[in-house]
């Protein structure tokens, strides 16, 4: 943890208590985020990536979920120890979030300008008129054309890309220290997706805000983030810079993912896929959660969960055999 670390998550655990058992959705997640840094969290369904963000924001539905352990330090203050009142002050101001499907996260009967202004009013002691002005400014920040006019529109009058920009405006309206974007492009067409990613990249360059981009799409994350954390079954299995991750993935899961995605530059060769399916979070495999699907697994992999160890430079991997695997692949 350095001076400009704005968010520090330590061993975060969120479990869901269901009739069928305890779902360990987030099982010991740790990472740091610095000012002006964009961190990507990548994973599939059940990986826990979205739930991690909800846990950081303390938006976990309780019941059936509960944050059972860990620390979330925002500028040194542990968010998990705050009272409900205190955490409400932090949401939107210290950390904010934009969500996947703009249509369901926007109030259909309220003008978008008013919705952003609402967020501003919750954290700032300003007049309604002033808040609306600030909302328009926030919209301008997300490169919406003609924000003064657009602010008077209702969500259904706007396109998908526009709505996503509104959500991002809302998240940035109070100049938070950290902004989390959960699947910002999943509901959008590819051309609009590109525009939103460009926007996020611009924002990262202009603002001091630390950003976390959550996505199942590695490509999306690669466009905006310089650092990527790969999650699987509730834990982070690899952290690396984007370039390192693409050029030289270390964890077998990441390797498998890279190989199984059809890439434009790979032609029509048969895709190398990962065997099996995402594990049951109630009864995860013993030891390393990926071992049943791992082509490199050995007996030790079944015993004891590997820790997230430092690999070369600033990289971390959760695999006891990564060095040997790397050597095998290089040859």
């Amino acid at each position: 943890m350095t001076e400009d670390t704005v968010l520090s998550v330590r061993d975060l655990k969120t479990y869901f208590y269901t009739r069928k058992g305890v779902v360990k959705a987030v099982d010991g997640v740790s990472f740091d985020l610095h000012k002006k840094e964009a961190l990507g969290i990548v994973g599939e369904s059940g990986s826990g990536k979205s739930m991690t963000c909800f846990s950081i924001m303390r938006l976990v539905p309780d019941p059936p979920g509960r944050i059972v352990g860990g620390e979330v330090l925002l500028n040194g203050q542990d968010l998990l120890r705050l009272s409900s009142r205190e955490i409400r002050k932090v949401r939107g101001r210290g950390i904010s979030m934009s969500f996947q499907d703009p249509m369901t996260y926007l109030n259909p009967v309220m003008r978008v300008g008013d919705q952003i202004a609402e967020a501003i009013l919750l954290h700032n002691n300003v007049s309604k008129a002033r808040a609306f002005e600030m909302a328009v400014e926030a919209m301008r920040l997300t490169e919406i054309n003609n924000p003064e006019k657009r602010a008077h529109d209702y969500p259904h009058q706007l396109s998908g890309g526009m709505r996503q920009r509104i959500l991002i405006s809302m998240a940035l309206a109070c100049d938070p220290d950290v902004m989390i974007a959960d699947e910002p492009t999943t509901a959008l067409d590819v051309v609009v997706q590109k525009e939103i990613l460009n926007l996020l990249r611009d924002l990262r360059n202009e603002l001091l805000t630390g950003m976390i981009i959550v996505s199942h799409d590695l490509g999306v994350v690669a466009e905006v983030c310089e650092k990527v954390a790969v999650m699987y079954a509730g834990s982070i299995v690899e952290i690396a810079t984007t370039q390192e991750l693409f050029e030289n993935p270390l964890h077998p899961y990441t390797i498998g993912l890279m190989e199984s995605i059809p890439r434009p530059d790979r032609g029509k060769q048969r895709l190398l896929t990962i065997q099996g399916a995402v594990p049951d979070l109630i009864n995860p495999p013993s030891g390393c959660k990926f071992h049943p699907r791992c082509p490199y697994a050995v007996t030790e992999c079944r015993i004891g969960l590997p820790g997230l160890e430092k690999a070369e430079g600033d990289r971390y991997v959760r695999c006891i055999k990564y060095a040997e695997i790397q050597k095998t692949r290089r040859s």
Partner: protein
């Protein structure tokens, strides 16, 4: 919305989906139902009353029609060892009448609900499936029914055609079906566009197959829950009819007993209290079952 909408779910949604049971076995459903104590209580009451009704000839201590007008010592007897619920103004044993009355109430309730279900489900399914003009026509018909004050309609019909049990069953059943129709229509409308229905159509399945084998097994649940509530409501209606004197005088009905009790409320409390309790119990029981069914079929709603 782009087709990307259906992409990767967050783990919250994965969990939510696992809680929303679709197509699982009866055992699962029963287990959830059983957890609802109130619903189980309701079910027990209904089973108890049904048994009483079925076994009426066997367990009834006296003939409910046995009049003892001549013998003044037998009328208006308060509850005692010989007559646990007392006797009425004609010397008839109240307990026996309660037991036989259960038959009428349950029969009318279940039959009326069944008729309502038959008519309502069919019309609702057709309206929801075919949409367009047929839907409009049926829904206008439904609206028409809903604007008529049901009870007065029933009163009128019974007053004209007589209050035999058959008439009462029919008339109640034919006036309460709109709510079932609405529910069924809503479900059919929503399922009609689902992908598995499109899939069946693309294979070449005809309307009949789609309505009966694809949509109906999925769409029927709200209507079933409603059905349970309607049994209770039908029993109440029948009691009200009988209380007003419009029911079947040849049968023993709890409502009729209340009618008999008019005027002697303070003098012979047992004549009104016991039938009243029975009606309340049975109607509440069906309501509890309905709630239990609803919760068991939609567990996610309860969780929140």
């Amino acid at each position: 919305m782009s087709s990307d909408n259906l992409q990767i779910e967050s783990s919250a949604q994965t969990i939510r989906r696992s809680l929303k049971h679709q197509g699982e076995s009866f055992a699962e459903f029963w287990r959830r139902f059983r957890k609802n104590r109130a619903a189980v209580l309701g079910l027990s009451i209904v089973i108890a009353f049904s048994s009483i009704a079925i076994l009426a000839p066997v367990i009834s201590p006296y003939n409910p029609f046995d009049i003892h007008i001549q013998d003044f010592t037998q009328v208006y007897l308060p509850p005692d060892n010989l007559h646990p619920m007392g006797t009425d103004q004609l010397g008839r044993d109240v307990l026996s009448r309660i037991i036989w009355g259960a038959r009428v109430s349950l029969m009318v309730g279940l039959a009326a609900a069944a008729i309502s279900a038959a008519v309502g489900m069919t019309l609702g399914a057709v309206a929801g499936y075919y949409s367009g003009r047929i839907d409009n026509a049926i829904m206008r018909f439904v609206d028409m029914f809903l604007t008529i004050p049901t009870f007065f309609l029933i009163l009128t019909i019974v007053a004209i055609f007589g209050g035999s049990l058959r008439n009462v069953m029919l008339v109640i059943g034919l006036t309460i079906w709109p709510s079932t129709a609405r529910l069924m229509r809503a479900e059919f409308l929503s399922f009609r566009e689902k992908e598995f229905v499109q899939a069946a159509r693309s294979i070449g399945a005809g309307d009949r197959h789609i309505m009966f084998r694809e949509i109906a097994p999925n769409a029927i649940f709200p209507a079933i829950v409603n059905g349970s509530l309607q049994v209770g409501s039908a029993i109440l209606t029948e009691s009200a009819l009988s209380f007003l004197g419009l029911g079947d005088p040849n049968n023993v009905s709890w409502g009729f007993m209340l009618n008999d009790a008019l005027g002697s409320f303070l003098r012979a409390w047992w004549l009104s209290v016991f039938p009243g309790i029975m009606i309340t119990l049975v109607v509440v029981a069906f309501n509890l079952i309905g709630d239990g069914l609803n919760d068991a079929l939609n567990p996610f709603l309860k969780e929140r």
